[in-house]
Each structure stands twice: as C-alpha cells, then as structure tokens.
C-alpha cells in the first residue's frame, strides 16, 4: 500500500495527456485525497509533446514530488524530451505503449533500470472499445485506476461530464475504453504493489485550482475593482479569470495595448479611489517599472503580480524560476522601498494576495507579489478557506476637518497621509511624479525632497518589524536551518518531514514578506544555526544575496540554488543536510564554517 504516488505521463499534443491528468486529479480530490498536478509543454501550441505529473497523497502535499512512482509513455520520443521533469528511478513502474515495439528490458532510459516495465496495447484497446485511438488517454486512466485502486466511478462521471457536449455515444465509448483499461490492469497485476491507502484527515469537499485563479479570486475577495494588464505567459490566467468575474462585482477591466498602459490604467483607477491590480511576468515587469515608481512617489495603493518565469529577456516563458527578486526589490530609480511578498503554494496564494491588497491600502504603496510559474499553473487540492477570518483594509480617507486645509501628503508621525480621490469635494490635489510638498505642489527644494523621502520610508517602517508574514517549522533549537521562499519553500517543508524521519534535527524559515527584510526574525532564526541553507531557484541565490546585504548572516549559512525549469526534489536537499550534519560532527558542533 502507498501513501504517496507520483505519476508522470507524456505523449504527443493530441494524445490528451493533460486532460487525463485533469480527470485523475478531479476524481481523487472528490475522494478526499490531496493532490498536485503540473503540466509541461514543448514550444508548439499544438502537435508538440506534452506531459503532466500528478502527485496523489493521503496527506497534504506542498510540491510536485521527486522521482516518479509510475511513468506512462505513449511514445518514447515525447517522453524522453522531458528529461529531468519526468525522472525515472529504480522504484519506478514504467507503463508504455506496446506498439512502440520496445522490449521491457531494452527501454531507452540511460543508466536506469526501473522496478518494472509493462508494455500495454494502449492504442489497440482504444480502437477496440471506442473505434479511435483518440481514447488512448481514457485507457490509461483505466489502467491507473485499476492498479492504484482509485474509484473508477468518479473518473467515469468526470469524463462523461467533459464529453457531455459530444453526445451520449461518445460518453459510452469512453466508459468502455476506461473499463478496458481497468480490466487489463486486473488481468496483469503489478509485481510492485502501488495501491493507495485511503485518505487521512478531513474528508469533505476540497477546492481544486491553480495559483493564478486563486490569486485572481483573492483579489476579488479583497475588493479589487479594476484590473489593467497585457497577456503574458505564465500570468495570463489571472486576467482571464478577472475578465469573467470582475464585472459581477461592479469592477472593470482593461486589456491594454502594452504592459505600460496596463499598469498605467491600474494606477489611474487607484488614483480614482478604487483598489486596482495588474499581473505580468518578467519582461512585463521590466516595462512597468517606471509606472511602479510613479505609484511610490504619488503614494497610491497598487498590487502588481509578477508570475516569475525563466529569464533574462524572453528566457523560458513556460518554466519556473525565482530570479526576479532583485528586480522586485531594486528596479526602481531613486530611493525607494516597496514591499515584496511571495506565496509558496496555491493555497497560501489566497492569503498572500489579500495581504498584498491590505498592505497596499494601509501604506499607500505599490506592493509586488512574486508568484512563480510552478505555483501559478499547477493544480492543487486546497482545504476550504474560512474567508470570515480575513480583515480587509481601506486606505485612510481625509476627515471633514482635514479637508478644510487639505494636505494630501501631510507629514504625519506615521508617514501615512489622508488620501482623497476625484469626486470627493474639497480633496482636490495634484498627484505627481515630480517631487512635491505636503499639498502636492511641485518643488525643487532639496530640503523638501529629503523630508518626503523620509516620510515615504518612515511609513513602511512597521513592515521591517512585521512578524506575521513568516512561517517557522521544525525543531526551534535545531542547528540545521533552512530558509526558502516561493515554490521552493513547498519543497523544503517536505524536506523537514523526511529529515526528521531520518533523525536529523532541522528547522525551516519561510518568509512570505521578502522585502523589506525583517532583521529580528532572521537573527532569532540564525541564533541556534550551525549550518544553514538558503534554498531558491536562481543562479545567484537572490534572497541569500539580499540577506547578506541587509543583515549579518552567519558564514555557516550558504546558498543552495540553481537556475530554473526543474524544481528542487526533496531528496537532494535531504542529502545535502546529511552532508552538513556529518561535517558538523567532524568539526564539532560549535565550529562555524569559515567565510566563503
């Protein structure tokens, strides 16, 4: 029996691999399992290779897992194109199309002997039952359901629903194909048992969605009334969700002519008094930078979501990377500090997006949400979220008395000034990108400029002491410490479980607030650490570098990073922790490693 299954499938564009994955995850979500599904494509829109990974677990899952437990290859050419995205190991059961003519002991997998290889006449079963080999994906679902012990009724109902528009006959044929797969599996039991245990914990209905849709839904919940944006992979689904929903809540959307106009319109809406957002990816962020600077000096709330992909330039549009942190924190010209937040899972994308709107409103500042392709485009089961627990904030409006001698940029103790908007009598002021005095009138005074810079920094000072935007897990006194953010943090949370099972004492710090840096939190976390890793998916280790710049990071804390595309696997980090433990034992636990 198994508590955790990672299935990887690959085929050609028309093989329906992705929809098979969708059917599988929808069915197991109904059964009460936790699951994550990621998809990967070649560069072509149609006809190229496509693949998906589905991880199903009896317990909550926070990352797509490592080596596959089951690999499905509809043809070997396509499967092999995904390389490290579909890793086969010694415990993997490989299921492949018999028509390929490859002998089970002659698989084209270099240097790997899988646990078991089964050639299945998938296309033939599809033709026999549905009259077309387009039903191959349904046969595969039958095989998987049969071998893993997944309730076939839920899958069949899901497939029927998806095919409802094509008529009853097509649905009947699909059911025959599915059953043929199940029967074939029953007649050919696996030598390696892969049946899933029943799900643990909360059984009830789950949410099933991806990070982009979760982000957009959170924005609507937070009261977002305007979206301005431009399509860009892998963030477009946020605008697509908004274009279906925002009107229903009295809001408006503008698909702009370019990235600059998208964020410009959003800033205009914020100037007009509405909560507003834009979403983009790296290249779009580069273009939006000037307007984000305008939001900073005009002190207007604005939420900017950057769904990170591989860069620089066009880079790798469909692959995940965490290399836009420097850009988020430092791309502005002039003296600027602006909050940068990062979700780590589909589930916490909700909370982080709501936080972003609250921080933007409270401090009248642009806030950057650094999602990444991995979270944004993977489907994940999420336990229902109690939205009544969230408080929503609104920007501070001027009182009637304040309007009498209105100072839009009044230099208050907190640095936060009352903000009016067009339509509000008496609140008339000039918003501007040029430096201004408390009334908003342009100035070239160096004294005023210094005072206003001070005010803009001072108002964000509380964020430097914000303790609620961190997650700390594991053994508080542990000498082994991990710091990780974004989707990599989901991997590290699982690392903790594996490491503890091996008897390693380890703890994890996950910052949701990446910038400004909350010094106390890191200092407390590092206090007991004798060997630490900052785990992130970029070549330079950008969070590590920022921490080194801003705070006193012990030399024993080192970056653990690599360029994007392939997420970290829990096992590789556990292995590194094991090495660090051995090194600590050799040197004596009180010896800190020398400076790099």
């Amino acid at each position: 029996m198994s508590k955790d299954l990672v299935i990887g499938m690959a085929g050609s564009g028309g093989d329906g691999i992705i929809s098979a994955g969708e059917s599988l995850i929808a069915a197991v979500a109904l059964e009460g399992y936790h699951a994550i599904m990621t998809k990967s494509f070649g560069s072509q829109i149609r006809g190229g290779e496509s693949s998906c990974r589905v991880r199903i677990s009896t317990r909550p899952v926070l990352n797509p897992g490592g080596t596959l437990d089951a690999a499905v290859a509809l043809n070997w050419d396509d499967f092999l194109k995904f390389g490290a995205e579909l890793p086969v190991g010694g415990n993997t059961v490989v299921i492949y199309e018999a028509k390929s003519g490859v002998a089970p002991d002659k698989l084209p997998l270099v240097g790997v002997a899988p646990a078991e290889a089964i050639a299945v006449p998938i296309a033939e079963l599809a033709k026999q039952t549905a009259g077309t080999d387009r039903a191959k994906n349904t046969v595969v679902l039958g095989l998987l359901a049969g071998w893993f012990g997944i309730n076939g009724d839920a899958i069949v109902a899901g497939i029927r629903k998806r095919l409802a528009k094509k008529g009853v006959k097509v649905g009947d044929a699909a059911e025959r194909s599915f059953k043929a797969g199940m029967t074939w599996a029953a007649e050919h039991p696996l030598a390696h048992e892969l049946r899933l245990d029943p799900p643990e914990g909360q059984r009830g209905p789950k949410l099933l969605t991806d990070g982009n849709d979760m982000c957009a839904a959170a924005a609507i919940f937070a009261g977002c009334q305007f979206f301005g944006g431009y399509p860009i992979t892998p963030s477009s689904e946020i605008m697509q969700f908004m274009s279906r929903e925002i009107w229903k809540y009295g809001g408006a959307l503008l698909q702009a002519e370019d990235e600059i106009a998208g964020v410009g319109a959003a800033l205009g809406a914020s100037f007009a008094g509405k909560k507003a957002m834009t979403a983009t990816s790296g290249p779009g962020m580069s273009l939006k930078t000037e307007i984000i600077g305008l939001a900073t000096i005009a002190e207007l709330p604005l939420v900017i979501v950057n769904v990170q992909r591989g860069g620089p330039s066009t880079g790798m549009p469909t692959k995940s990377e965490q290399a836009d942190l420097f850009q988020a924190a430092f791309s502005a010209h002039g003296d600027v500090v602006r909050p940068v937040l990062a979700p780590t899972t589909v589930a916490d994308t909700f909370r982080i997006t709501v936080d972003a709107f609250n921080i933007a409103e409270r401090y009248q500042t642009p806030v950057i949400v650094l999602s990444d392709q991995e979270i944004a485009q993977r489907k994940e089961t999420v336990d229902p979220i109690d939205t009544s627990k969230f408080r929503l904030e609104e920007r501070r409006r001027p009182t009637a008395a304040e309007v009498e001698d209105y100072k839009r940029f009044r230099n208050t103790d907190s640095g936060i000034s009352p903000v009016s908007h067009p339509g509000m009598p008496g609140g008339n002021y000039l918003g501007s990108g040029i430096e201004h005095n408390e009334h908003g009138d342009p100035t070239a005074s160096g004294v005023m400029h210094a005072r206003m810079n001070d005010k803009r920094f001072r108002k964000l000072e509380p964020l430097r002491h914000e303790r609620n935007l961190f997650l700390v897990e594991g053994d508080p006194g542990a000498q082994l410490g991990l710091v990780s953010w974004g989707s990599s943090a989901g991997v590290c949370r699982e690392v903790l479980v594996h490491a503890q099972a091996e008897g390693l004492r380890v703890k994890l710090l996950v910052p949701y607030l990446l910038y400004p840096v909350v010094e106390e939190t890191y200092r407390e976390f590092f206090a007991s650490v004798r060997a630490g890793l900052v785990v992130e998916q970029s070549h330079q280790g950008q969070l590590y570098r920022i921490l080194r710049m801003m705070i006193d990071v012990p030399a024993c804390v080192q970056p653990f990073c690599r360029s994007g595309a392939n997420p970290f696997r829990p096992r590789e980090i556990v292995a590194r922790l094991r090495e660090l433990t051995l090194a600590m034992q050799r040197h004596g636990s009180n010896t800190r490693q020398p400076q790099e």
Binding site: D213, D258, A269, S270, L430
Partner: protein, 308 residues
C-alpha cells in the same frame, strides 16, 4: 446617450478653475492661452472642480493640470492616456481631461493613442503641439518639419514629421479638432465642444514655443495664416473631407472641427456599465468566491444531461 459632462447648473466662472500655482512657462508661451481657454471652456460647462480629473504626462505643457483646481495627475512621460482611461473606467461619472505635448503624445506615448481612440472613452485629449522639445531645451520633436535645425539636428532634420490629425482620423476618432491660442474664442469653442462630445475627443493645439520656435510659428504669424474651417464650407460630418483637409497639416493652419461623428459610438464606460448590470445577478457573494473552485460530484450537474 447623454454625456456625463453636462451642465450641473452651478454658476462657475473661469477663475474658479484657476489654482494658486504660478505657471512656470516662458513669457509669451502659447500654453498660457491654452490654459485660459481651458478655464473658459470648463466654466461654460459648469462641472465642479472636484468632479474633474486632469491628467498629463511630462513636458512644459504637461504642467497644465497643476494650474487648475481640478484633481490633477502630472504623471510620467507619455502615459497620460493610459492613466486617464483607468480613471474614467473606474469612475465614469468624472469629467476626464488629458493633456500634453507633441513629444509626449506622438512620440514616447504614441503607441497609446490608437488604442485610446478605439476604446472610445469620453475623454478629451488636448495636445499642445509646438514641434519642439521645449522642457529639455530645444531638441527635435515628432512634428518638427524636415530640414529643421535644432540642437539634435544641427545639420537639419533628416526625418519627416508625423501628421497627427491624419492618423487620429484614420484611427476612427469620433471628434477631431484643431485650435490655436492665436484665436482664443475659437480654441475655447473646440475645447468646450470636445468635452461635451460623448466620446473620445482629440484637440490639437498649435501652441507656439517662444523660446525655440521659428518666427513663422508665432502667434503673430499664425493670425495671418489661420483659416477657420467654419468659413470654408467644410462638412464636419464627412470624415473623408476631414482627411483631405488634414493633409494640409504642417503647411496650412486650419482651425475648428475637422470631424464630428454625428452618431456617437458607444463609449467603453457605457459598455462596462452594461456588463456590470447584466452580470451582477450571477455573482457569488464576494466572501464565497472560492466556491467557484469547489469540487462537486459531477453527476450533480449532469442530471438530465447526457444520461437522457
């Protein structure tokens, strides 16, 4: 379709729209005249200053919002139109004006203009076209004529100027006019009419730069050559005729309304309001929006579907 910019019945004088800021323009700058005409047009329309949003980019002329009592937004170079559209879409009740220079609108911000036109929000866009970059001290602008010598074209401009009237007409703007501070009543009239027009209104203003402009661009010279379209028998409902006249941009100075679509097309904000009204019924309460992602038994919705 009535306009959101109709007279509210308040008696407003031009001085009500004048702010305390002293304009930082060279003595004799055409923009002073434009500013006066804006005051007069706003007074004629009578909307209160707090109901007006006046957005600009960067340049000498982009300082204009600060000299009015409206809510102003002196933004960044070239981006007045995107910001103005965000404001209008977010609150269609506002009277929204956008303004800037020829560099701001036709060069760095030139990519926004066709899209602002086709979206057709009820915004009036006033360009103070002086054929030069004044604020940065006299470089070529997109409307500088071929051969013109400036600090960045010491041997003469190698390029041909754009023709903004021509392309705004080609983009399909429903209201296109030109004025000059050499004819203050005429300029006031086209600005006022542009604001009253229920849709995107483009007003190009030949506003001379006294510091870097040439003699033939000054107010005195303009007065001698300007020809009001109203006296030329031009039918402003005829877009092809308007384009014929627009071809004279840079040579002859025609003032007044080139084109006024007699059947104003629907504005973006009107369509937005329609969508908001028609989709509202289908909304989950905001706090229950995550129900959209709830996995339900597929059979629930399928009853009577493919089974029958």
């Amino acid at each position: 379709m009535t306009t959101t910019t109709a007279n509210t019945g308040h008696a407003c004088a031009p001085g009500d729209y004048k702010s305390d800021l002293k304009p930082i323009w060279c003595p004799g700058c055409g923009d002073f005249g434009v500013l006066q005409c804006v005051y007069r047009a706003l007074a004629a329309i009578g909307r209160e200053a707090h109901e007006i949003a006046f957005v600009s980019g960067i340049g000498c002329s982009s300082r204009i919002p600060g000299y009015t009592t409206a809510y102003g937004f002196n933004s960044v170079h070239g981006r007045a139109l995107p910001i103005a559209q965000g404001i209008k879409a977010a609150n269609p009740d506002l009277l929204v004006l956008a303004a800037g220079g020829d560099g701001d609108g036709f060069s760095i911000g030139g990519g926004h203009l066709p899209h602002a036109v086709r979206r057709n929000m009820d915004i009036t866009y006033i360009v103070m076209d002086n054929q030069i970059y004044g604020l940065t001290k006299g470089q070529l602008s997109p409307t500088s004529r071929h051969g013109r010598k400036t600090v960045t074209s010491p041997y003469g401009n190698l390029e041909e100027p754009v023709n903004p009237l021509m392309y705004v007409l080609a983009y399909g703007a429903p209201f296109v006019a030109q004025g000059t501070p050499a004819d203050m009543p005429g300029l006031t009239a086209v600005i006022e009419e542009g604001i009253r027009y229920p849709g995107f209104a483009f007003v190009n203003v030949q506003s001379p730069c006294v510091t870097y402009g040439s003699e033939d661009q000054m107010i005195k010279a303009q007065k001698e050559i300007l020809q009001p379209l109203s006296k030329m028998g031009h039918d402003a409902a005829n877009r092809i005729a308007a384009m014929d006249l627009a071809q004279h941009y840079g040579k002859d100075l025609y003032t007044g309304v080139f084109y006024r679509n007699p059947v104003p097309p629907a504005t973006y904000e009107a369509l937005v309001r329609g969508l908001q009204a028609s989709k509202q019924a289908g909304a989950l309460p905001r706090e229950r929006i995550l129900d959209l992602f709830l996995q339900r038994e597929p059979q629930d919705e399928e009853d009577g579907g493919s089974e029958t």
